[in-house]
């Protein structure tokens, strides 16, 4: 049993280990995703009718298993098998799978489960099975309000992902971003939020003023962003549950490029005055403002290391945009990017070992990662324009935005969100109802 799990983990991890090149890897499709069967969650007649009344979904068990399938497929690490080939009925499979049947369709793992209506709540139980060993790997049950049914699908996916990869999942999460509409010269921008899979999209501002660069607090449902409210570009703090917001600090000029500290207690940002941008922090409890950098160049795009001890940032003190790392008190400033081209938007991985960045070289934009000392630079994707990577909370996937080149008439502009695996595999467009930019990934909402 233990050996088998190791083999499965091995299968998943191997592809990521075969990379380590400094060039962009644009070859795709070597990955061998794990075949997995997601048996629809079974549901009794009574529960089914009750959920249909509340949620207007004919079979909530089917719907939840569809969410799990889409999540697994999108991760690029799993290949959910076609349900038409399943031989066993969902309710029986959940009691005791006939492993020969699942083996026959080449499933290596199997998810089964059951949804029921209990005291006006949604109770779900699910099991993850190792088909080859014929054993149960995970069994869990939990209860929630019925309207949380999509999250149920995401939480199950997180548990399955964690059991099979050894890493935490990133499915029960949300993405805040800037929704864009209108011509390039008069773009209307609104804050928007959606589930990681694009569901439950909501606009948080009306588009009356320009808004940019929203970022989640890693510990709560707070967001910091830049708003041009009354034509004064300032960093704001927004509580997305209550909708209340406030200006961060009292600066006599533009504040921008905000981000939270890993403990969520400080905001780090740039303040521009007299042609010079410096990095500051503000403590959200006692409102104390600290100046971190002190240099006549542009210092911006700061991001804390997950232990809070270091800050990576963007500076042109060498004459061009490059990435620097310093202690969180501003001491020991050290340049870490030395490749060809310009480097911007450094973001420290939640795992702590890598910094993701945007690179501009010979008229092309790249999203890449390097170690925190600048070694091991690896470019993941090349395009006409793309920038602003944001890490999934497990440090496995990057989401960023990409803009298209306009034609001779200046038309055909679009901005979209894209995600890519840390290995450079599995590049995908993230669907949004409008054009989109500046994505920021939340922490896991549960556990």
């Amino acid at each position: 049993m233990r050996i088998l799990i190791k083999i499965i983990i091995f299968l998943i991890l191997i592809p990521s280990k075969s990379f380590g090149l400094i060039e962009v890897d644009i070859t795709r499709g070597n990955l061998d995703p794990l075949p997995i069967a997601v048996s629809p969650l079974s549901i009794d007649q009574n529960s089914r009718q009750n959920f249909e009344k509340i949620l207007k979904k004919e079979n909530i068990g089917d719907e939840i298993s569809k969410i799990i399938e889409v999540n697994l497929k999108t991760s690029g690490l799993f290949n959910p098998l076609n349900k038409d080939a399943f031989l066993q009925a969902p309710d029986i499979a959940n009691l005791k799978p006939r492993f020969e049947d699942w083996n026959l369709i080449k499933a290596q793992a199997l998810i089964t489960g059951k949804v029921s209506y209990v005291d006006e709540k949604l109770r779900v139980e699910f099991r993850l099975w190792d088909v080859l060993a014929g054993k149960e790997m995970v069994a869990l049950a939990f209860t929630t309000v019925p309207t949380n049914w999509r999250r149920v699908g995401h939480i199950i996916t997180d548990k399955v992902y964690q059991r099979l990869t050894g890493e935490k999942g990133y499915f029960d999460t949300r993405i805040i971003y800037v929704a864009e509409e209108g011509p390039k010269t008069k773009r209307i921008k609104k804050l928007a939020i959606m589930d990681q899979d694009g569901a439950n999209n909501k606009f948080l501002t009306l588009g009356n003023e320009l808004v940019l660069t929203p970022r989640f607090n890693p510990t709560s449902q707070m967001v910091t962003y830049l708003s041009y409210f009354r034509n004064l570009p300032r960093v704001y703090l927004l509580d997305i549950e209550t909708g209340t917001q406030e200006v961060v600090g009292d600066f006599p000029g533009m504040t921008f490029a905000p981000r939270f500290s890993p403990d969520g207690k400080k905001i780090i940002m740039s303040f521009a005055k007299d042609g010079n941008s410096e990095i500051y922090t503000m403590d959200l409890e006692n409102r104390i403002v600290e100046k971190i950098t002190n240099h006549p160049s542009i210092d911006t795009s700061p991001s804390f290391s997950p232990d809070g001890k270091f800050i990576c940032f963007n500076s042109d003190r060498s004459g061009y945009q490059q990435i620097y790392v310093m202690r969180s008190d501003g001491s020991k400033v050290k340049r870490i990017s030395f490749g060809k081209g310009l480097y911007g938007t450094p973001v420290w991985s939640p795992r702590g070992d890598l910094i993701a960045f945007t690179k501009l070289h010979k008229g092309k934009f790249y999203i890449g990662v390097m170690r925190t000392d600048g070694s091991g630079e690896r470019l993941l994707t090349e395009n006409f324009y793309q920038e602003a990577p944001s890490w999934s909370p497990n440090g496995r996937v990057l989401i960023f935005y990409r803009e298209t080149k306009t034609d001779d008439k200046g038309e055909g502009f679009s901005a979209k969100l894209w995600s890519i695996d840390l290995t450079g595999y599995n590049e995908r467009m993230v669907k949004t109802p409008t054009d989109a930019s500046d994505p920021s990934w939340s922490s896991l909402l549960s556990n």
């Binding site: 660069t213 490029a257 740039s270 042609g275 010079n276 004459g319 911007g344 938007t345 306009t406």
Partner: protein
């Protein structure tokens, strides 16, 4: 991005200098000098180097007083033409002492959003400093950076980008 090749040589040179000299100030000067050479190399139509010299997008604060100045890629240095424009603006503002202005700094789309916000602010301040040396009080001038958020030309080509790298003087009252 015809300039990018030249920039890379710059960077190579900078790195070598870094090793030899270990003197950051010198490096900054060297780099300004090199990029100044690069921008004054060629003249073509509506651009000199990669600074816009045309009048397509220019509006006027008053007759003969253009409202904007243009910049080279990643630069906030005022060109000779820019200084001439700003002297005209200063003369106009001295004559009309009740007018207050906003200097709106902009960048092209070929840079990261946050850096461009800072760059727009730096460009608008370059214009502000120059107006101040010609007698315009700083309390008549406010500065607003739009970064790359408000291009005048939606094209994705060097000429469009050169029109978008600008500081625009706007009457505030």
């Amino acid at each position: 991005m015809k300039k990018s090749f030249i920039r890379n040589i710059d960077q190579g040179a900078i790195m070598k200098l870094n090793k030899i000299l270990k003197n950051t100030l010198l490096i900054v000067f060297a780099c300004f000098a090199l990029s100044a050479c690069a921008t004054s190399k060629k003249t073509s139509g509506q651009m000199q180097g990669d600074v816009y010299t045309g009048t397509d997008t220019v509006e006027y604060l008053a007759s003969g007083v253009p409202d904007r100045v243009f910049f080279a890629t990643n630069e906030s240095v005022l060109t000779t033409a820019s200084r001439e424009t700003l002297r005209k603006q200063a003369a106009y503002l001295r004559k009309n002492s009740k007018i207050t202005i906003v200097l709106e700094g902009h960048a092209d789309e070929r840079g990261t959003r946050e850096y461009n916000l800072a760059l727009g602010e730096r460009r608008a301040n370059a214009a502000k400093d120059y107006l101040m040396t010609y007698g315009i009080s700083s309390n008549r001038i406010s500065v607003l950076s739009y970064g790359k958020e408000r291009p005048v030309d939606s094209g994705s080509n060097p000429l469009a980008w050169s029109k978008n790298r600008r500081s625009v003087t706007v009457k505030a009252n």
